[in-house]
Amino acid sequence: MNRALRYGMQAILYAAFAATLGYLSTSPAFEPLPPGHALIRVSLNHAGQRMVACRKRTAEELAKLAPNMRAAEDCPRERAAVRVKVELDGRPVADIVAPPAGLSRDGASVAYRRLPVPAGTHRLRVSLADDAASTFDRVREEEMHLATGRVLIVDFEPGQGGIVFR
């Protein structure tokens, strides 16, 4: 094969390689959400209440303990799982049970859930239970407009009044 033809073929193959790199490095574009959708992200890090409430030790009990171990209260370590229910326009869309972390189940409960929803105006109701009896005593309900591509974070921050929409 003559040299010009060989170099020509090389140029074509190099160009094909470059074109493949150039195209696949940005295309085809990917749509992370279905068209006309918004996203609700439920993300919380919250320690549930203790499974058994703390109890004051009696004087006899304290006397039986070594001096450096005489804590006034006896607190069993295990905590309750945190439950979160999410309802959209009256329909349940998530029921999350987040168990406590740790071998002794005494750590915080961490939960994350991704909920794509159609964009538009919705009534969002989130309720949370963090005790052994699963009492949903923390509730937030709000009507809100979720535009296409909007990300709404649902969090739980006791210092800011409990359930937070951000």
């Binding site: 390689f17 790199l21 068209p35 993300s43 890090n45 972390a101 961490v110 994350y112």
Partner: protein, 528 residues
């Protein structure tokens, strides 16, 4: 012995298909520069380009979450010298690294290069593959634009599917108005640490090949670098808008080389992606044990014929031969020792051994390091029998390679063929012996250039026949009567063509003057 030889490995069907694809590239690049035969070296090449451009970018990069994107935008405006070019080069060289690595993996898979002595390189290659993706995906987080935000969130969502994280990682990305500088520093650290880990993995990956080819030929290196440079100028990178945790962009210009796992996760969920990834890696990792890839038995050292010259040690492509202190009473300080786990059974060492000369008088020719499946003594007997039966003019002996074109199909009244385990198993003295045993010419058929099943066989053969490397073809051998032909398994037609051309040349040269000129003592042995 014939049944045992029939069980010796041959190229599989997939390898033959690949050979035809490579043949097309041979036409454009020539055999020596064919990029298919330098995929691993090209991987190193693109890795270094990626590192160099990355270091240049890092010098001008603001390492805070709030300043990162702005500093890169300034680079794109070329406020930082060659900033836009360096950014594009960094991206495209990283993409090219994935492309050649994927092809390298497919090629080695098609050639069944994963078992036995190649198991170590295969498994370390899988590890390097995983680190490459980890390092590459982490690079997409540093501009901290919407692509970075989406990729980072998708990655943390994937890891959060593991019970050990359970949602904790994604909180780092989405819980505040902005990721913290401390967290962003961790991402930068990952994008420096993981490529360094990858470099270590690549170094380990080539530890059991000798010599490791980590640089492509200069012409290919310059050609591929120029291609990347042209692409950088033709299509510079564009940043997406700054990360905004309250929004997800409608469409993301995705780099499919690295970020396709995010798309896969969107389709099958984080758990599905874990299952798919684990299954893919498990299948790759299990291949060396799950499939049987035949190989020739390991070489054996015969101490009575080993003088510790270390030529087998120098030529072994897999470092299976080591030189150790002598264990017998012979007056040589060292002896060769073969590690059967590392030995490919290629016979390159037999071709390198000076004791492999067929001119020795012993009826049972034995050499210093021999192949149990095809001993050198049997090859000499076969050569003598074939050469003796040749008639007419010119008489040609073809030394074929088991992995190359089937030389047996060339046999006729004036052409004899003897097949070796590899062209580099042919000791140059066999060429001279064939000429003195009655051949007018000797044709050695090896694999295509750079395509030896055992990495360097065809290059060693050429170097020995051209007297550039010991054991060399002696200067008294007429070079015009020796021809080396690169011919892959599917190149029988090429080999036939070359044989016909060689025959014409030998006809022009006339018969060998010293026919039947074996050493007298050897002739005595043969004919009583």
């Amino acid at each position: 012995m014939d049944a045992a030889r029939a069980a010796l490995p041959r190229p599989g069907r997939a390898a033959l298909v690949l050979e035809r694809v490579e043949a097309f590239f041979d036409r454009a690049f020539g055999q020596r520069l064919n990029p298919w035969r330098h995929l691993g070296a090209l991987g190193f090449h693109f890795f270094w380009i990626c590192c160099a451009s990355g270091i240049w970018i890092y010098v001008g990069f603001d390492t805070s979450a709030t300043g990162a994107r702005e500093s890169l935008a300034a680079m794109d405006a070329n406020d930082w010298p060659l900033g836009a070019f360096a950014r594009a080069l960094h991206r495209y060289s990283a993409d090219a690294l994935v492309a050649v690595t994927a092809l390298h993996l497919l090629r080695e898979l098609a050639r069944r290069h994963y078992a036995a002595f190649r198991r170590f390189a295969w498994l370390t290659g899988i590890f390097a593959l995983v680190v490459m993706f980890a390092a590459g995906i982490g690079g997409y987080w540093l501009p901290w634009d919407q692509l970075a935000q989406w990729s980072l969130t998708a990655t943390t969502e994937w890891f959060d599917a593991l019970p050990v994280f359970d949602g904790a990682l994604t909180r780092n990305v989405i819980s505040g108005d902005q990721v913290s500088d401390r967290f962003f520093s961790l991402l930068i650290f990952l994008h420096i640490g993981l490529p360094l880990t990858m470099l270590g993995a690549m170094w380990v990956h080539v530890q059991r090949v000798s010599p490791a080819r980590t640089s492509p030929p200069a012409a290919l290196a310059w050609g591929s670098a120029a291609t990347l440079a042209a692409l950088c100028l033709a299509k510079p990178l564009a940043l997406m808008p700054a990360a905004d945790l309250s929004r997800i962009p409608a469409a993301i210009p995705l780099d499919w080389f690295y970020l396709f796992p995010h798309v896969l996760m969107a389709a099958i969920g984080p758990d599905g992606l874990w299952v798919a990834t684990a299954a893919f890696l498990a299948v790759l990792a299990a291949l060396p044990w799950a499939t049987r890839v035949p190989r020739a038995p390991a070489a054996r050292v015969n101490l009575d014929n080993c003088n510790g010259c270390a030529r087998c040690f120098a030529d072994c492509p897999y470092d299976a031969v080591v030189m150790v202190a002598r264990t017998d009473a012979r007056p040589h300080p060292r002896q060769a020792q073969v590690d059967p786990l590392l030995c490919a059974g290629c016979g390159v060492c037999t071709g390198a051994c000076p004791s492999s000369t067929p001119f020795r008088r012993d009826e049972q020719l034995a050499t210093g390091i021999d192949m149990p499946s095809l001993p050198i003594g049997e090859l000499r007997s076969r050569l003598e029998a074939r050469a003796e039966g040749l008639a007419g003019h010119p008489r040609i002996v073809v030394f074929g390679c088991r992995w190359g074109a089937d030389s047996a199909r060339l046999e006729d009244a004036s052409t004899a063929a003897v097949e070796f385990l590899c062209a580099a198993m042919v000791p140059p003295s066999f060429v001279e012996y064939a000429l003195r045993a009655g051949a007018d010419g000797v044709l050695v058929a090896g694999c295509r250039e750079g395509d030896c099943e055992f990495r360097v066989g065809e290059a060693l053969t050429a170097a020995r026949l051209e007297a550039r490397r010991a054991p060399a073809l002696r200067p008294t051998v007429p070079r015009e009567r020796v021809r080396l032909v690169p011919a892959g398994r599917s190149d029988l037609a090429v080999l036939r063509e070359q044989l016909a051309d060689f025959r014409t040349e030998l006809t022009r040269l006339g018969p060998r003057a010293a026919r039947h000129a074996l050493p007298p003592k050897r002739q005595e042995k043969r004919h009583g």
